[in-house]
């Protein structure tokens, strides 16, 4: 099996393995991408970086990100801005990084200049007062270069801007066509069809192959599915909040899955673990509900095993004839810390990284980072049949499916500063659900109650809704 995989605590963005074998390709890719922008005209629009003036003198920026291979972007930046050196540091994915970042902010030193933070965790850092409002350094002028709702995620109050959007994770159904053909399955367009196919596959394979994995330890995965069903979880009204983790929209989704779990039609393996990749790579799981960065991650984590067998289809819907809806899982922005000595240079790097053509295109084809840059999304260069994630999906235009999904995401979605707790507490309730100790309703009610209790004891004025 693929024992080169070392698990990560949480990996909303690509990269489970070091990308050293790709290095020559990466460098070559960058060179190729730079050439056209110098010569012939492409439609790719980039901000006028000269308006984002960095501090003078030699500068070294410390950057924390868990996107494996992002260090390849540093030389390009250094070439364009010779006074600034960039040191990219992978201190762990998701919560592993956040815990270090929280500590550094509390300590007042030891943190980076720029750090990657997912949208759902951003408010827990905004309340520490440790992040720079980069609109002070001209970030507002580049707003029009990014997908509006991702910009909104970086700017919850619509005024202060706490980061530049790096990527988003609209959801779709990634399925293994070989397994689907083998068992005569059809690609489900509704959840009802989805459940029928799950049953059909479980019976035909004698329970050995599951349609998908119900991800038991990634709250944002479930939230993405609830999001696609019209759920919102948090709302800030002035100084107070409401939280609705057990809304009817959430419950409909979890009820549906609880039934499939009970009948053993779906697997319940924690994502981003050797166990999961082994199951997928050896054909025990026929499909996976993945965010836009998912196919790229999977291609990399499986070391291109089963490459070419996969296809992406739109997320199943709750009813036919309704407007198409999807949800979002993950997506990050790059923030600037107040303890940075060079907040202007850090702002410049954070915007350049996510708006410049070189890194944006290469991050998709090498690591599956689905761009938040509008020009990046529109770029035909995303569709390269001989490169992942398209190559992993037999040359399919994967970016197009996800771009359509992106348009179907409810953009009015807020997070809360106590989300780190909410995120972990989900695992507790789902473990009880899977063990049969709780119903879906009980699990969601407990999730809501635990999270309310935590937020209240931490001084938030929050009510359940």
């Amino acid at each position: 099996m693929n024992n080169s995989i070392v698990w990560r605590s949480f990996s909303p963005s690509p990269g489970r393995r070091t990308a050293l074998p790709f290095l020559p390709w990466v460098v070559a890719g960058y060179v190729c991408l730079l050439l056209p922008s110098l010569s012939a005209q492409s439609a790719y629009q980039e901000p006028d970086y000269s308006k984002l003036k960095p501090e003078s003198g030699p500068i070294t920026l410390e950057v924390w990100t868990w996107v494996v291979g992002l260090d390849k972007a540093a030389p390009l930046f250094e070439q364009a801005f010779p006074n600034i050196k960039v040191h990219i540091n992978n201190v762990g994915a998701g919560p592993t990084e956040y815990q270090k970042l929280q500590t550094a902010i509390k300590a007042g030193s030891g943190g980076p200049d720029v750090a990657q933070i997912e949208y759902d965790f951003l408010p827990s850092f905004i309340v520490t007062d440790g992040l720079v409002d980069i609109s002070e350094y001209g970030a507002s002028d580049v707003k029009s270069f990014f997908v509006p709702w991702t910009w909104g995620q970086c700017s919850p109050d619509g005024k202060a801007v706490y980061g530049s959007p790096q990527d988003s994770g609209p959801m779709a159904l990634l399925y293994n066509k070989k397994i689907f053909d083998q068992y005569g399955l059809t690609v489900p367009t509704t959840w009802e069809e989805f459940a029928q196919q799950a049953e059909k596959l479980a019976k035909a394979s004698d329970g050995k192959v599951k349609l998908v994995d119900f991800v038991p330890t990634q709250a944002p995965w479930f939230i993405g599915l609830a999001w696609a069903n019209g759920a919102t979880l948090f709302k800030q009204n002035g100084d107070s909040w409401t939280q609705s983790l057990n809304s009817p929209e959430c419950q409909k989704v979890l009820d549906f899955w609880a039934e499939l779990i009970k009948k053993k039609y779906v697997a319940t393996i924690p994502d981003f673990t050797p166990e999961f990749y082994t199951a997928v790579g050896s054909g025990q799981i026929a499909a996976s509900i993945e965010a836009a960065w998912g196919p790229g991650v999977l291609a990399q984590s499986l070391n291109d095993k089963t490459s070419g067998e996969w296809q992406v289809a739109p997320l199943p819907q709750w009813s036919k004839g309704q407007p198409f809806r999807s949800g979002n899982w993950g997506g990050s922005c790059d923030v600037v810390l107040k303890q940075s000595k060079y907040p202007k240079a850090a702002t410049l790097f954070s915007i350049w990284l996510n708006a410049a053509k070189g890194p944006v295109i290469n991050n998709w084809t090498s690591y599956g980072i689905f761009p938040a840059s509008l020009s990046g999304l529109a770029s035909p260069d995303l569709n390269q049949a001989d490169k992942n994630p398209s190559k992993f999906c037999a040359g399919q235009n994967v970016a197009q499916i996800y771009a359509d999904a992106s348009k179907a995401v409810n953009v009015d979605f807020e997070w809360s500063p106590w989300f780190a707790f909410v995120n972990d507490d989900y695992n507790k309730q789902i473990a009880a659900l899977i063990a049969g100790a709780m119903t879906a309703k009980q699990a969601l009610d407990a999730w809501q109650a635990d999270s309310l209790k935590n937020a209240t004891s931490d001084g938030y004025d929050v009510k359940g809704k």
């Binding site: 099996m1 024992n3 070392v6 698990w7 990560r8 605590s9 949480f10 919560p95 956040y98 815990q99 270090k100 929280q102 500590t103 509390k106 408010p123 827990s124 905004i126 309340v127 520490t128 007062d129 109050d157 038991p216 330890t217 800030q236 002035g238 100084d239 924690p270 981003f272 673990t273 050797p274 166990e275 082994t278 199951a279 500063p417 106590w418 780190a420 707790f421 972990d424 695992n427 507790k428 789902i430 473990a431 063990a435 935590n454 004891s457 931490d458 001084g459 938030y460 004025d461």
Partner: protein, 288 residues
């Protein structure tokens, strides 16, 4: 006499300086932090206001924390005797045997201790993964049901197994060294009196190992209270409760929830508890 005392302090200075800077000072800071509670007004950084013992009162009513302490006691009661029992057994066996094989065994038993805790826990993480686990593959080969070593009901004991694997060798070596120190004439005298092997073990070796055992016991108890790494490393592989060990709970309160003052209070309480438990044993060792 005074002069000697000065000299003693001079030699102690390097230790004391580091001890105060990196041990006592942080403890005092945690104590100071623990007296504050957070007040929030709107979105923005919370204000720390003096709360007296509010955090401590919250802690003793915090069922999650209390369950964490219960886990710690269950762990200690089950794991420490198993580990020390195994260590005694192995030390006695090694003491009996001679030659190359003994040396190989000694090294092999001791080796896990040389592996960094995090690495050891990762390796065990693979061994525990339900479908990848060789234990489960063996069970399947005999048509038995498989075990989910990472399931909430079992995982505490899976962690205990890792700790036993790591530390039995260390304890064994310490006991083995103590056995080497038992004077040969005691054995000879026993043999002359007609003592069998089992009598020697029971009446000579075990009693003379007691001081060492007591020390190892106290180290093990303190080690139990500090359990963190194994749980932290296994956590991403499945659901491990926040309070599977009290230390993990304290860590998450601080680093995840950014509630440093409450985490400070929890840490101080935990330290006091360990002090109360281990104090009498330490005093007995010191009085010898």
């Amino acid at each position: 006499m005074r002069r000697y005392r000065k000299t003693a302090y001079l030699f102690l200075t390097p230790f004391l300086a580091v001890f105060i800077a990196f041990y006592l000072a942080p403890v005092c800071y945690a104590l100071y932090l623990s007296l504050f509670i957070r007040k929030r007004v709107g979105i923005g950084p919370p204000k720390d206001v003096f709360g007296g013992l509010a955090n401590y009162i919250r802690a003793v009513q915090d069922t999650d924390f209390l369950i964490g302490l219960k886990n710690m006691f269950v762990f200690g009661v089950v794991q420490v005797p198993i580990m020390l029992g195994l260590a005694i057994l192995l030390a006695l066996l090694l003491h009996q045997s001679r030659g190359f094989f003994m040396k190989v065994c000694r090294t092999a038993y001791f080796m896990p201790y040389g592996i960094p805790t995090a690495i050891g826990a990762m390796v065990w993480g693979y061994l525990y993964a339900p479908n990848l686990s060789p234990f489960n593959q063996i069970l399947r080969a005999f048509h038995q049901g498989t075990i989910d070593f990472l399931s909430p009901a079992i995982v505490l004991f899976s962690i205990a197994n890792i700790v036993t694997w790591t530390w039995t060798g260390y304890n064994m070596i310490t006991l083995f060294a103590a056995l080497q120190n038992i004077p040969q004439d005691l054995y000879e005298a026993a043999r002359v009196d007609g003592a069998k092997t089992w009598d020697i073990v029971r009446r000579i070796q075990i009693p003379l190992l007691l001081p060492t055992l007591r020390l190892l016991f106290i180290f093990s108890v303190i080690g139990t209270s500090q359990l963190f790494t194994e749980a932290f490393v296994l956590r991403p592989l499945g659901y491990l409760a926040d309070n599977i060990t009290p230390n993990l709970y304290v860590y998450l309160t601080a680093a995840r929830d950014a509630n440093y003052s409450y985490a400070g209070a929890l840490a101080i309480l935990l330290a006091l508890l360990i002090f109360v438990i281990s104090g009498p044993f330490l005093r007995r060792i010191a009085s010898r």
